[in-house]
Symmetry: C2
Subunit: 83 residues, 2 copies
C-alpha cells in the first residue's frame, strides 16, 4: 500500500441555479468590482489515503464522490491524483 493524495472537485451541473454564486456576484458588484461577468463556486476535497496504485486511488475517489461527496443529481465531479 502506498500513500496518495487525491482531489475530488465538485461543481454544479450546467443549468442548476447556484444561489451562493449569485450572492457573491452581486456582493462583488456592490464592492465596485464592476467587470465581473460570472461567478462559479466549486468544492475541492483533498483526501490523503492508502491504495495499491494510482488507479486504485482514483477509483476510491470516484466511489467516495458517488456515495458521499457529490450529489450526482445536481453536481458533476472530477477525481485526480495530486501526489
Amino acid at each position: 500500500m502506498k500513500s496518495f493524495k487525491i482531489q475530488v472537485r465538485v461543481q454544479f451541473k450546467d443549468g442548476i441555479l447556484d444561489p451562493q454564486a449569485e450572492a457573491i456576484q452581486s456582493a462583488l458588484k456592490k464592492l465596485q468590482f464592476k467587470s465581473v461577468q460570472n461567478v462559479r463556486c466549486d468544492k475541492a476535497f483533498l483526501i490523503s489515503l492508502e491504495a495499491e496504485s494510482e488507479t486504485a486511488a482514483q477509483d476510491l475517489g470516484r466511489k467516495m464522490a458517488n456515495q458521499l461527496l457529490a450529489n450526482v443529481v445536481m453536481e458533476n465531479f472530477e477525481v485526480e491524483v495530486v501526489t
Copy 2:
C-alpha cells in the same frame, strides 16, 4: 479590456479546525473507506471578468479575496488566471 477567467482558491490555515472536513472523514470511515487518513475541504471560486492584462486580472482576484471571498484571519488564498 480582455476577458479572463480567474480561480480564487481558499483553504483553512494550518492549525485551524475544520468541522466539515472532520465530519466527512468520519462519514467516509463509516462507509468503509478505511484507508482515508486526512480530508481537507477547499473552496474554489471561478470568476469571469474583464481586465487590461493578466496581471490586472490577478490583482483584482487578490482584492476580491481580501475583501470578500476569504476570511484572511483563518484562511489562505491563491489566485491564478485559468484562461
